[in-house]
Symmetry: C2
Subunit: 403 residues, 2 copies
């Protein structure tokens, strides 16, 4: 059995590219940028007025002039006016071009307007005051957004500003989530005494939706030939297959055998972790015009499936599309003892305390206790090498809920 | 001019309900639950086998029996079998019902199977070992998810388990984002020397999309009668109007006047904050069969619009749909001085350090510098009462990017 670190390393060695595509501006929200965005012109593109007021020339002011004849109004969106007289000014609006012949903007708060004249009450001005200078933020050609950035509202604004209406982003993988097990019935059905409703596929679908991936789901009964046929047809359509269940020692745990028969190379089976020990990972290599497929076969217990998706699928996906994987950490709030020689994913509720993230254990009834996930926000990753975990120590977290 | 705290208090006094609706399971992802979810049966609904192995009775084991005749296989999803003989066992699979007459599950790892018999190598057993007891996690009728919970993958799994295929959630508000200003051209257009592309509406649209709100956008020229007509038609269709620009002292800053003429009650105009001072907030009360509308008129500078949406619209929306608003905090990483008597929204890059969130200032060129938002992750809220902010002190943040 391999460790969590070994399993993660193997999975990270199997990252893939799913290609790129062009999407519209708003479709780019949440996606990963696959081009470098440069300024198409100076930012701002002209000497931009940034207070409503009057524009004068500093030299007139310095000669002692305090009252100026208003020559006109420079509105935002109007072509640049020319200030002609030495003793004149132009009213200027925020966002407007600074008129030619002016190099100072005095805000209305410091101006009295009367009979077509503006009188100012200040004693000094600075050259280009209240003017956002052409090219001050960025010069034409400067890099504004690096490739591989995740696109938030901040990037959307910049993309719009530089005129990108089609954005090159990482394509999402095509994913199918497959449940197996004759005990499962559909959500709208009433289970018999020995049955339960299908839920793991929907948790997984939702975990993937949080990454912007719209996955499909299938259910296959506990029968080798159906499994084999259905899985083979999935290989024709999907980049990634996620399974939930049928990977342990049970008489009907056919997944590893069926995958092996279909030519999927097992990269490991079983990891020193709780929950989620029987996790199986493998890869179908592209051959004879066939597609490549990556297979994550998670154990069927709800909490096992859930934590394995966060611990293994999430970083594999992020690395595949080129996003930097950053670990988050939290401070353990209670002493915890865990004797088995395996990594323990402890369910925790996160709290804020003076800029610090604290993790309070949430006691559940083991890997079958789906309802407990509702009370928690994250898993704290307690390393295999220790058995006693002290209050105040810091550990990485797998988070599925934000504040 | 009022303070940020006063402005927030007024806005929070104007929260509204947008009603509820029923959506499908996967559509519920990210939404806010508007019903209490209870267990429709015990969890687990039967004594559930949680290891693959054999089921025996503890009393037989205690009488010294170590070899058991295999009577059959209890698969997951099959009706409960009855173990008949005293010296017999039934093979059981994870997820199966514990057979009647058995009260102990011994995993395959501790069993030798040969010629239809199972011999165990252990010396003691515990009553109901490796059995997830009926009702252990939850009893029928127990509350599983509280109303007003934000639905993540954890809740989706529970909703599926209890058979909810139509989920009652908070309806989203209908929102229109309106830009004004003759200097603005569309994203696909090449701006003339005095023009810039429309970008704030898209930043806002993306900030709202992050809340699951699909907002529409409009552009209206700097003309009072068009503004009046178009805004009036928006009141017929939308719960919320967001404006960007035309709320300051400029000659064409018609928004406050037009809104006033349309009967929108101004609740405040201008807040002691940087950036975003000219923010205008008001409400149109429902009258004569008309709709109620809430109006956030943000200043037009990109960073002002952005931070005001996070500071004012976000908490108003969350409180309106019933979600608890939790503040996040970070530790300032450098000394900062800010003299004006106003709240300062400092752009910061967030970093993790031993479970602590640190905020490193990102220097920009003021409220017009949209590109700077790309380098930052959040705004640190530096209170008006202070002018010197020391490294190591903790302040609330407005975050728009996760780790």
């Amino acid at each position: 059995m391999i460790t969590v670190e070994e399993a993660s390393k193997i999975i990270q060695s199997k990252i893939r590219s799913f290609g790129v595509e062009h999407v519209s501006l708003m479709e780019a929200h949440g996606r990963t940028l696959k081009e470098t965005i440069c300024a198409d012109q100076d930012f701002p593109p002209f000497n931009r007025v940034c207070m409503d007021g009057i524009a004068v020339s500093a030299s007139s002011f310095e000669k002692g002039l305090r009252t100026f004849t208003i020559e006109g109004i420079q509105a935002a969106g109007s072509p640049q006016l020319v200030k002609k007289g030495i003793d004149s000014c132009i009213e200027v609006m925020t966002g407007a071009v600074l008129p030619e012949g002016a190099d100072v903007v005095i805000p209305y708060e410091q101006v009295d307007l009367e009979n077509g004249k503006a009188t100012v009450s200040i004693t000094s001005v600075k050259h280009m005051q209240n003017v956002h200078l052409k090219g001050k933020d960025k010069k034409k050609g400067d890099v504004l957004i690096n490739e591989d950035t995740q696109i938030t509202a901040a990037e959307i604004g910049v993309l719009a500003t530089v005129g990108k209406s089609a954005i090159k982003v990482a394509k999402q993988p095509t994913v199918v989530i497959i449940s197996t097990g004759d005990e499962l019935v559909e959500v709208h059905e009433i289970p018999l005494a020995h049955q339960i409703r299908r839920s793991n596929v929907y948790s997984l679908q939702s975990l993937l939706l949080a990454l912007g991936i719209t996955a499909e789901t299938r259910h296959i009964g506990d029968d080798k030939s159906s499994l084999s046929n259905e899985i083979e047809s999935c290989f024709e359509q999907y980049d990634v297959l996620l399974f939930s269940g049928a990977v342990s020692k049970g008489k009907f745990d056919f997944i590893p055998e069926v995958l092996d028969n279909l030519g999927v190379k097992k990269l490991f089976h079983k990891v020193k972790q709780r929950p989620g020990k029987p996790f199986w990972f493998g890869e179908l290599q592209a051959a004879n015009g066939g597609r490549q497929a990556t297979v994550f076969a998670f154990p069927g217990n709800p909490v096992s499936t859930y934590v394995n998706c966060l611990q293994y699928f999430y970083p594999w996906y992020k690395a595949s599309i080129g996003v930097e994987v950053k670990k988050e950490y939290a401070v353990l709030k209670e002493d915890i003892s865990f004797k088995p020689q395996m990594t323990y994913f402890l369910q925790v509720k996160l709290e804020q305390n003076q800029g610090e993230i604290e993790a309070a254990p949430v006691t559940g009834n083991g890997s079958g206790d789906l309802a407990n996930l509702v009370k928690a926000d994250a898993f704290l990753i307690l390393p295999m090498e220790q058995t006693e975990f002290k209050k105040g120590n810091v550990f990485p977290i797998l988070r599925y809920r934000s504040f």
